[in-house]
């Protein structure tokens, strides 16, 4: 993301034991302006005495205190997601990913600041506020999904909000100026790893049965919802200033998760868990496309989809919302009710983002199709067994009956 005279960029590597970081480079000559790590000493994570969580200063060594020994040096917290910027507040926002390894037994503590929403000053990199959504992650619920900055009513109050649909299945509404937590509710009713988020402490109330590592490693923890790919992965949601609602492509997938001990070697994978994925027990749809009221924390309407909705959404001023499906449908639905208005089957599954633009006075809708990503890994990589692709293949096995590989741009012209 380009902000003023700098470009801000993150890194991947949560499965290779990186020390996650975000770096700003000067546009002029590419020299490094600053680097802020996700974990480590305060001068590496760029926290100062004014850095807060839920309105309280986090204090000295907030990250170091939450790791055993030097584990933070290979602690993950990659920054591979999206970046948002508020020019009025001069803050930019992003989330950090899973702590390394996926075996939580090897890294006791809260593992700060993995799984965290950051608000940083782009000039200095200093963090103004943070909020850790999933302390001591036991599920690979990366916190990297997009931070949508919207001015909405929250419980009746006009609010400069940050809205985030986390992989852990909770949708968070925060005050983006102060970092105050305003709403944290499940956006898929099947989420079972936590009962709720304590609004005082901000901590999820974890259910032991669904918490890998609580009974040690080499134990298969079953029927945890959502799966590691999250109730939503990196496919972005859309906000409509017209309705004040968020339109969210979601996954409806659960998992079995078995952690095991691994050793770190630079450059080698550092995962340490085996996974299987499947629809929630008793159901057979793997996704929903929902409209979400981020002020109230409630689903307004929900459209079941046979597969995860792995496309980005597009909300328009014409009262129509668009999304794509893994079978390859582009769908147009009524923004208020979710009623389907139009569908078109593109040649392959849609994991891209729906776009709109105008040219010569005519408006167009465009989408790339070509199945892939975690949900499509079985087809894209020719995998066949349930646990392949970190467990994604089993859940999406039937996809091959509905679509095929490909790479096509489909453009629709709107009637004049």
């Amino acid at each position: 993301m380009v902000v003023k005279d700098k470009v801000v960029v993150g890194i991947s590597g949560g499965e290779f034991g990186v020390q996650g970081s975000v770096t700003a480079y000067n546009l002029k000559d590419g020299s490094k302006a600053w680097r802020a790590y996700s974990e480590g000493p305060d001068d590496q994570i760029l926290f100062d005495a004014n850095t807060t969580e839920l309105g309280k200063p986090v204090g000295k060594d907030s990250s170091l205190k939450s790791w055993q020994g030097d584990e933070w040096k290979i602690g993950g917290g990659a920054t591979w997601g999206w970046y948002s910027y508020d020019p009025q507040l001069n803050l930019f926002y992003y989330g950090s990913g899973n702590p390394s390894t996926w075996n939580p037994v090897q890294r006791p503590g809260d593992n700060k600041w993995s799984m965290t929403v950051f608000a940083r000053n782009p000039d200095t990199g200093i963090a103004k506020w943070v909020y850790q959504m999933t302390p001591h992650d036991q599920w690979d619920y990366d916190g990297v999904n997009e931070m949508i900055l919207a001015d909405i009513n929250v419980k009746g109050q006009p609010t400069k909000a940050l809205v985030h649909f986390d992989r852990n299945g909770f949708a968070y509404t925060l005050n983006r100026e102060t970092g105050a937590l305003l709403v944290a509710e499940k956006y898929d009713p099947k989420v079972n790893w936590a009962t709720k988020v304590d609004m005082q402490t901000g901590r999820p109330q974890v259910v032991g049965q669904y918490a890998p590592g609580d009974k040690g490693e080499d134990v298969n923890y079953k029927q945890i919802c959502p799966a590691a790919l999250g109730s939503k992965d990196q496919q972005p949601a859309a906000f409509s200033p017209k309705t004040g609602l968020f339109y969210v492509p979601t996954n409806h997938v659960c998992m079995d998760y078995e952690p095991f001990k691994v050793s770190y070697t630079a450059g080698q994978p550092y995962v340490g868990a085996t996974l299987s994925m499947f629809p929630p027990p008793g159901e057979n749809n793997l996704g929903n496309f929902i409209a979400w009221d981020a002020g109230a924390g409630k689903i307004v309407w929900s459209i079941p989809e046979p597969f995860s909705v792995w496309s980005g959404a597009l909300a328009t001023a014409g009262d129509v919302v668009f999304y794509g499906t893994l079978e390859g449908y582009l769908k147009a639905v009524d923004m208020q009710t979710g009623k389907e208005l139009y569908r078109f089957k593109t040649p392959s599954g849609i994991i891209g983002n729906i776009n709109t633009y105008s040219h010569g006075g005519k408006q167009y809708i465009a989408v790339l199709s070509g199945v892939g990503g975690w949900a499509g890994i079985g087809m894209a990589a020719g995998l066949t067994k349930d646990t392949d692709g970190l467990g994604a293949v089993g859940a999406y096995k039937a996809l091959a009956n509905y679509t095929q590989l490909g790479g096509v741009l489909t453009v629709f012209g709107l009637p004049q």
Partner: protein, 138 residues
């Protein structure tokens, strides 16, 4: 012609008998009961998945740039396997550009060479299918 064929067939038969005998003589490195694998073989599967899959493909099936280990394990001894994994191997010529890096310093591989071998041998013998093998006690 017929004579040559007969000789070849005899040689083949003799080879098969020898192979079968040596198979019986050598202890199998894996244990499978009612279609379920022992701890060692299961660990071999997950270590393979963690450290080897990215090049050699899921379940030892091979990929466009690394050979199928299910095939390799059919005509390789465990000593040869260990040697290649620990020290690596370069096989670059007009027909191939295979470079296997040494894994001698990768703890998750060298500590479990026997387990990974057991899993691949079970795959090579057709005793274990693709995917997560069911485990004794599961």
């Amino acid at each position: 012609m017929p004579l040559a064929l007969t000789v070849a067939a005899l040689a083949l038969a003799a080879g098969l008998v020898l192979a079968a005998e040596s198979d019986n003589a050598a202890e199998k490195p894996y244990t499978i009961t009612d279609g379920k694998v022992d701890k060692k073989t299961f660990n071999g599967w997950r270590r393979y998945t963690e450290s080897c899959l990215r090049c050699h493909g899921p379940d030892g099936a091979g990929s466009s740039y690394a050979p199928s280990l299910v095939d390799s394990a059919k005509h390789m001894t465990q000593d040869e396997f260990n040697e290649i994994v620990v020290n690596g191997r370069t096989n670059v010529n007009a027909a191939s550009e295979n470079v296997m890096p040494p894994f001698g310093e990768v703890e998750d591989v060298v500590s479990y060479l026997g387990d990974i071998w057991a899993y691949l041998k079970a795959r090579a013998d057709g005793a274990v299918g693709r995917g997560r093998p069911p485990r004794i006690g599961d």
